[in-house]
Amino acid sequence: MSDAADVLVIGAGPQGLAAAAYLARAGARVSVLEAEPVSGGACANSMSVGDLVVPAGPHSLCALDPRVVKELKLGRHGLKFAARDLALTGLRSEGKPLVLDRNAHAAAHSIAPVSQRDAERFAGFRRDLFVFGRALRAMWWEEGELGEAAQREELRRLAMTSAGAFLDAAFESEAVKAAFAFDAMTGGLSPSDAGSSLLFAWRAAQEMCGLQGAVVIPRGGVASLADALVSAAQAAGVEIRTSVPVARLLLSGDAVTGVALASGEEIAARIVLSSLPRRRTLLELAPAGAAGFATARQLRRTPDTAEAKLVLALKSAPGFAASQPSGRFIIAERLESCIAAHAEARAGRLPAELALEAVVPTLFDPSLAPGNTHLLSVLVRPLPVSPEEGWLKLAPRLTDAVLAILERHAPGLKGSIVAASVGEPNAPERDALTARHMLAGWRARIATPIGGLFLCGEAAEPAPALSCRAARIAAAIAGAHLKGEVR
C-alpha cells in the first residue's frame, strides 16, 4: 500500500472533480484517479474535427447546479458563459421554424401559424411546468420531499405518463410535439415509455445563469467547465493523477479499503467515490458477488437506445442559424416517428428517421474556430446500443443519414463542410434510466451495497446530465462518514 488518502475519487470528469473539490475544501486529503492522460472526462477536448478539437460529451449545459458554480467559485476559475439561453427551436421541412422562446409573446407568435390553439396554450403549459419544476427542486436539488399532497399526486401521475401522452394532452400540432420529442428520448427512453414525461419536469426544475430551464454554452466550449473545475480542485488541494486506470476496488468484508491500479499499485483510502456508472463500478471494479445477485441482475440492463455526437466544421454557418442564432435546433418530423425510430433502434437497426439537436457554438464564441470557420455540433437519437452490423460499419451510414437530414434544412451545407467527425456512443457502458430511478432519493442513487463506496457521477443524477448535484451531495455524505458521524 502506498499514499494513504482519506478519499479516492475515480474519474476526473466534472463530477469527480467537483466532489473532490468539495471534500478537499472540507479538509480531507483527496486524490482523483483518471484513466486518461487528461482530466475532464466527457468534457475534455478529445474529439478531433479536422484541426480542431471538441469534447466528446455534451455540447451545451442545461442542468449545472448554480450552487456548485457559486460555492466552488467557478467564475473566478475561468467559467464564463457565451450563450445564456438557447431557445428550443423546432426546424420544419416546410414553413418557418418554431421558436419556443422564453418570451411568451414571441413563442405564441411563432406557434400561431401552426396552431392557434397551441399558441394560446403554450404560455400556460410552460408556466405550469415551471411552477411544478420549482416545487420539484425539493427532491431534485436537495434531499427532501415534495411539500404539498397535490404535488405528490401530480408527480405520481407523471411517473405513469409517457411523454407522448403528456404532449398529446397539451398540444394538437405535430410540429410543437415534435420539438419536444428529442428531450423525451434522454437516457435512451422512448417517448412512449411510462414515466418519460418526468424528463420534462426534470428539465423545468433546472436553472442556468439564473434562468429556469435555460440551455447555455460556456465561453471556450464545455471544456472550459472541466478546466475551471480542475483549477478549483487544485486550488482546494486535490491531487489529480492522470493515466492511472483503476483495476479493482479493495474490500475488507463489506467495506471498501482502497483501490488497486492497473499498474499493480494499491492505494488505501477510507472512502471511495466513483464517477463511473453504477454497473461498471459494481460489476467490473468490485469483486464478483459484492453487488449481490439481484442487484447484479438489474444492473446488467443497458439503456434501450444510444445517442451519438456528430461535429462538422463548416466554411459558413448553416442557413437555419442565420435567422435565429441563439437556438437549440431540433429536427424531428413527428412524435410518432420518434416512437417508431426508438423501436427500430432497440432492435439493433439504424432508424429510417432520426431526431437531431444541433447547436452552432461558434456564433457566440468565435474563438472556438479560426477565421470564418463554424462548428455545427449535432446530437443524434435514437441509435442502436449494439448495432447488428457493428459501430464501424454503422458510423458512415449514420453520417450520411444525418448529413442528408441537415441538407434538407440547410441547403448547401454539404458543400461547405471542411471536416466531419462522429463520436462513438457510450451507451453500452451506461446504466438504464427508469422512472423509478428518477424518483428514488439521492441516498438510494448515491449509496452502494459496499460500505464507504459512493457514486458521484451521472449515474447518481435523476436523469443523465452534467449537473454536479450528485457530486455535491455525495461529498457531503462522504464528509459525514469521514468525521465518524455515520457508522
Binding site: 405513469m160 405518463t161 432492435a347 427508469t434
Partner: protein, 485 residues
C-alpha cells in the same frame, strides 16, 4: 314517470348494474341501441347453420361472487373452464396452461378497492384538487416492462413469445416499453360460454328483467339532460326522454362525454381530459365456416385443439407488426390466433362441420391510405387464411364461407369508439387510479349523478360485469347518503 336509474347500454356491465339495482327495489330503465341486449355477449349466424361470437370468443372472467349473486348458472350461462393454449411453429409446438397466480390476486384486490371506494361517499367535488390516494395494488408494475416480467417466468424466447401472444390476445402493446407490464392486469380468459356468448347475454338479461329492470332495445340514447349540475334525464333517438335520478353509462369514455353532452356545457378541463384519452383498436376477426373439422396437426393432442392456437408467435414479428400498426399499415405478419370454437361447443356448427375463428392482432382502425376497401379486406382475409393454411395445409378447400370484421365494423356494431374492445389503451396513465382519468377513477364522474361503467372504467378491462356492479353500489351509496334526491 321518473326512474331511480337509467342505464345506457345493455352489455354485460349494464345488465349486471340493472340486475343489482333492481334487485334492491330501485326502478331501473335500460336503453340499448341494438335490437338485442348483450353487447359483446353475442352469438350470431354468419353463414347458414354456422354461428360464432363476432367480437371475442371469451370475455374476461366474471368475478365468482357476481356470477353467483346474479344466479347466472340457473339462467343458462354455463362457462367452460379456459383450456390450455397451443403455440405451433413449423416443426415445433408447445402447450401452456392458463395460469391464475399473482395477476388474479391483484385483479381481485383492485376490484375490492373500487367496490370499497364506491361504498364510500365521494371525497371530492367537481375537479377539486386530487386528494392523495393510497397506492393501487399492482401499481408497481407501471415501472416495469412486460418482457422483463415474462422473461422471469419463461425458459426460452419461444416460450416467452407464446406467453406474450396468449396474454395480449390480439391487443397491441410494445412489451419493451416501461409500463407495459400493466397488461398483466387485463382480464384473464373467462372460458367460453356453452351455446356461445349470446347465451351469457341472455342469462344476464333474464337476471335484470326478473329483478324488475325494464330493458328497451332498438332505441339509442342521444343525450343526457341536466337540471342544474345534476343529471335529470336521458334523451332518446325518438325524441322521448327517460327521467331518472341517476344515469349509469356503459358506453366508452369518449362516447359518454363527447356524444351525450354538448361540449359547451361541460368544464373545459373535463372535455380536455376526455379528448386526450386514447383508444387503441387493433383487432380484426375472421369467422370461418368449414365443411368438415380439420385434423389435428401431426403430433398434436386432439384435446389441444379446444383452446386458442397461436400461429408461430415470435417477438420480432410482433415488434414489426406493432410498428406497422402505429403507422397505420396492416402488418405483413400480424399475430394470429385460431380457435376451433365448434370443438368446444358443437352447437355452433352443423353436424359434421366446424366453425373456426381467426383473431388478428395489430390491425389499424383506418389504414393510412384510407378506409377499408374491398381489396384491403380481401387481402387481410387472405393473410388470415394463409395462417390457417400454414397450420392445416389444404384447409382452403373446406371453407364454405367467411366473414371478416375489422375495427370499424366493431365500432359500428357495438357503438364503441374506434372499435377498441379494451375501451382505451392499457398504458400506465390509463390504468388503475388514472382510468379513465384521475377525477373519474373508480366509477363516479365529475358530473353529478353520472356513473361510468363499461370498458373505459377502472374495472372495465379487468373483469366482466364488475364495473357495472361497482357503479350500482356507488349509486346506492349516494342514494343512501341522500345525495341524489
Amino acid at each position: 314517470m321518473r326512474y331511480d336509474a337509467c342505464i345506457i347500454g345493455a352489455g354485460a356491465d349494464g345488465l349486471a348494474a340493472a340486475a343489482t339495482l333492481a334487485g334492491r327495489g330501485l326502478k331501473v330503465a335500460v336503453v340499448e341501441r341494438d335490437s338485442h341486449p348483450g353487447g359483446r355477449c353475442a352469438t350470431r349466424e354468419f353463414h347458414p347453420g354456422f354461428r360464432a361470437s363476432p367480437f371475442v370468443d371469451e370475455l374476461p372472467a366474471i368475478p365468482q361472487d357476481i356470477f353467483w349473486s346474479l344466479d347466472l348458472a340457473r339462467r343458462g350461462a354455463l362457462l367452460m373452464s379456459a383450456p390450455a393454449s397451443l403455440a405451433l411453429w413449423p416443426g415445433k409446438q408447445s402447450l401452456l396452461q392458463p395460469s391464475a397466480g399473482r395477476a388474479q390476486a391483484l385483479r381481485r384486490a383492485i376490484a375490492e378497492r373500487v367496490l370499497a371506494d364506491a361504498a364510500q361517499p365521494p371525497k371530492r367535488g367537481l375537479f377539486a384538487s386530487a386528494a392523495p390516494t393510497a397506492p393501487w395494488p399492482g401499481e408497481e408494475l407501471a415501472a416495469r416492462t412486460l418482457l422483463d416480467v415474462l422473461d422471469e417466468s419463461s425458459a426460452d424466447s419461444a416460450e416467452c413469445a407464446h406467453l406474450l401472444a396468449a396474454l395480449l390476445d390480439g391487443q397491441v402493446c410494445d412489451p419493451a416499453l416501461a409500463g407495459s407490464a400493466l397488461q398483466l392486469l387485463a382480464g384473464s380468459r373467462g372460458g367460453m360460454a356453452a351455446g356461445g356468448l349470446g347465451r351469457l347475454g341472455d342469462a344476464l338479461r333474464a337476471a335484470a328483467e326478473e329483478a324488475g329492470a325494464e330493458i328497451t332495445c332498438g332505441l339509442e340514447a342521444t343525450d343526457i339532460k341536466r337540471a342544474g349540475r345534476r343529471v335529470a334525464a336521458v334523451g332518446l333517438a325518438d325524441g322521448s326522454e327517460v327521467a331518472a335520478r341517476a344515469v349509469i353509462s356503459t358506453l366508452d369514455l369518449k362516447r359518454t362525454f363527447l356524444s351525450l353532452f354538448s361540449w359547451s356545457e361541460l368544464p373545459r378541463a373535463l372535455v380536455d381530459r376526455v379528448g386526450a384519452f386514447r383508444p387503441a383498436p387493433s383487432m380484426a376477426r375472421l369467422l370461418v365456416a368449414l365443411e368438415a373439422p380439420p385434423d389435428p396437426p401431426a403430433g398434436t393432442d386432439p384435446i389441444a385443439l379446444r383452446g386458442p392456437i397461436h400461429v408461430a408467435p415470435d417477438a420480432a414479428a410482433l415488434d414489426d407488426a406493432t410498428r406497422a400498426w402505429r403507422s397505420g399499415a396492416a402488418p405483413e405478419r400480424p399475430p394470429v390466433m385460431l380457435r376451433l370454437v365448434s370443438a368446444v361447443d358443437p352447437s355452433l356448427a352443423p353436424d359434421g362441420a366446424a366453425t373456426l375463428t381467426v383473431t388478428l392482432g395489430a390491425i389499424p382502425h383506418t389504414p393510412f391510405d384510407g378506409a377499408w376497401t374491398r381489396e384491403k379486406r380481401d387481402k387481410l382475409r387472405d393473410t388470415a387464411l394463409a395462417a390457417v393454411e400454414a397450420v392445416w395445409p389444404g384447409i382452403a378447400k373446406r371453407v364454405l364461407g367467411a366473414e371478416l370484421i375489422v375495427p370499424p365494423d366493431t365500432e359500428d356494431m357495438l357503438g364503441l369508439t374506434g372499435g377498441d374492445l379494451s375501451g382505451g389503451e392499457l398504458t400506465a396513465d390509463q390504468m388503475l387510479g388514472f382510468r379513465p382519468f384521475v377525477e373519474a377513477s373508480g366509477t363516479r364522474t365529475p358530473v353529478e349523478g353520472l356513473y361510468l361503467a363499461g370498458p373505459s372504467s377502472t374495472l372495465g378491462p379487468l373483469a366482466t360485469c364488475a364495473s357495472g356492479v361497482a357503479a350500482a353500489r356507488a349509486l346506492m351509496a349516494d342514494f343512501a347518503a341522500g345525495r341524489l334526491k
